[in-house]
Symmetry: C2
Subunit: 385 residues, 2 copies
């Protein structure tokens, strides 16, 4: 396989964008990535989206977006793997370029979630779970995560307030990200007193919805080198793994097997170890998922992900900086787009563009995108080539 | 890129399968393909589906199906490109194996459409069109095709009854396909007197919905040769092209530009010409689409696709046999699965397994899967290696 590099990235603000359609938002990010890459045409368009059939009455987003962007006649397809849609589409673009079949891939993750009422979006998000065995029982997606968090607290002896550092870090970092949804700091008191959503998950444990899109241009590495443009970002590791869709089917509901397996394979492909990772954009849809992801990827022992946060090791100057642009919690979580935002943010770190939340000398970054409660996990490792 | 072969195929009957869930239907086809291939494990699962978020309250079908099939921990992702979902997923599996990233890909197209009322399914199918510019105006998907057919009749001087041979051929062939939805012949009188759906499209112009799944196992060609099993089927050509999603945006609404372009590229890759194609599974969702597809792929001049059918050239012994297993019209059109059914049927032809509708000495087969009204078109050419 050919080595593949990221030539350009783009993103939109995450907000309630009621004045823009799905294609406008996706196009905005796509055009930004093309401009950043300095290319005008692409061979194929890979779109990531989860909710548009349910929230926007729209399917066939590949054709919709390529049409809108003036990329007519190009191959275009949509990927859906719940909240891991972005990572899955990025990986497909990677493979298409690596195979030699195409030379320029544009990956766009786009989601528009705020046009419908909250309960409708909650119902739409529940389609990430098993309709027959979970949703039919009346459990929502946040409800499933709440059950996991409650069990984790019971098993390892943590209190709810011990999870606060995750959200505090995300919010502190988002202040410096102009694209973030929630650009304000929060205090431990804010965390403790937030409105309960599904006990023990309160509003400060949960990531906000939003309308937004992020995009990436992928090309063979040799093309970047010969062009001699800005420093190339190499996709050094890529892996996708799965687990049971229903959490209750797992032998151990407190270990993200697919996260562990996909990270292990990505490490091997990139020839790195957890200690080599300078910055890690993880899938903090809920605080519990941040802890479980850190544990599955080898940054903390079982049940000790929370300890890392309590010890102040997850900030931009900590041992393993996470959510450096605000993460899902404060940058926002436009579900199908999130995996592409993570890639964009790692690129920004490796380019040294992150200002106040820049990780000094970052050379190896990892992004982990999780679909459902760990049923689909896609992990990528990027390096400054 | 490595050459890729089809090692096994599987399919379910297309029917109202109210007693089976989406995963049961998908699993049935998947297991049949694995058994046919003689393999028990796969590296990655590529699922094609269009409607499950809307009709089944279910997303993340990759994880759902890999979990159900006992393929846990494997990579799994869903593809959606309206009715071209199946072709798109097959092409992604092809590229993943061709790249060397994986060795065994399972592609499953699955759709469950009959659990909801007809008007709900009609609304769901309309998500293939442009929500803002077509559906908002009140046009359904069949309505769009009716406008195209009316214009074609006006432009080229055909009568409605001239389209009858397409449906008569499809039904005649389906009688011999045990998996087909409508296994009965129809007469010209049946065609003329059928219930009107959206003038000029009547019930005999339109393909029926249905619940069903089809599956294919892809491996590197050298693996098949060394295993020395049944004759290998080579994927010799593959291409995907796009067009505007809204038909009214096209300079010429009567020419399927994306079908033409993807066929041209697939011919070039396979180093064949239209005259070399022994059997062609085309996308006869409506009779008008069969005519337009024949024209776009070089089998008939503009406006003369109907002539081929009237001249009796589309039957199993004709110049270009189409819909040899019943096509979308009579085998049935479980939308997201259809593209994979087409591949399975070409494999059956190249293996010589089609009995009464076997195309004598078939060595080169083509499958063309169309999403929307020609917005996404995926073309594959298979040969007996």
């Amino acid at each position: 396989m050919r080595k593949v590099a990221i030539l350009g990235v783009g993103q939109t603000t995450i907000a309630e964008q009621w004045d823009k359609s799905l294609k406008e938002i996706g196009g905005e990010a796509g055009f930004a990535a093309l401009q950043d890459a300095g290319v005008e045409q692409v061979d194929s368009l890979f779109v990531a989206n989860m909710l548009s059939p349910l929230v926007g009455n729209q399917n066939q987003l590949g054709a919709l977006l390529s049409d809108w962007m003036g990329l007519r006649s190009r191959e275009a397809v949509k990927f859906e793997a719940a909240c891991a849609s972005g990572g899955a589409a990025f990986r497909a673009g990677l493979m298409a370029v690596a195979s030699g079949e195409i030379d320029v891939a544009l990956v766009v993750g786009v989601e528009k979630m705020t046009d419908k009422a909250g309960h409708e979006v909650t119902a739409a998000l529940a389609t990430a779970a098993d309709a027959d065995y979970e949703v039919e029982e009346g459990v929502s997606f946040v409800g499933i995560n709440a059950l996991v968090m409650r069990r984790y607290m019971h098993e390892f002896g943590w209190q709810h307030r011990d999870f606060a550092p995750f959200s505090i870090n995300s919010h502190a970092n988002a202040v410096h990200n102009p694209f973030a949804r929630l650009r304000h700091e929060i205090t431990p008191a804010d965390f403790d007193s937030a409105t309960m959503v599904s006990s023990p998950i309160n509003l400060m444990d949960a990531s906000p919805t939003g309308d937004g899109a992020a995009a990436v241009v992928l090309v063979p590495l040799e093309k970047v080198t010969s062009a001699g443009a800005r420093p190339a970002i190499l996709v050094a590791g890529s892996a996708s793994s799965g687990d049971t869709i229903a959490v209750h089917s797992r032998r151990d509901p407190l270990f993200l097997m697919a996260a562990s397996e996909s990270a292990r394979r990505a490490y091997r492909m990139a020839q790195v170890e957890p200690a080599d990772i300078d910055v890690f954009e993880l899938h903090d849809a809920f605080t519990i998922m941040a802890a479980l992801s850190l544990e599955a990827c080898g940054f903390a022992d079982r049940g000790q992900g929370v300890r890392l946060a309590l010890d102040g090791q997850i900030g931009p100057r900590g041992r393993i900086p996470i959510a450096t642009r605000g993460g899902l919690k404060a940058r926002g979580h436009p579900v199908g787009a999130t995996g592409v935002y993570q890639i964009v943010e790692i690129v920004q770190q490796l380019r040294g563009e992150c200002g106040a939340t820049q990780v000094e000398g970052a050379r190896v970054g990892m992004a982990q995108n999780i679909g459902g409660s760990g049923a689909t996990v896609v992990t990528h490792i990027l390096t400054s080539a």
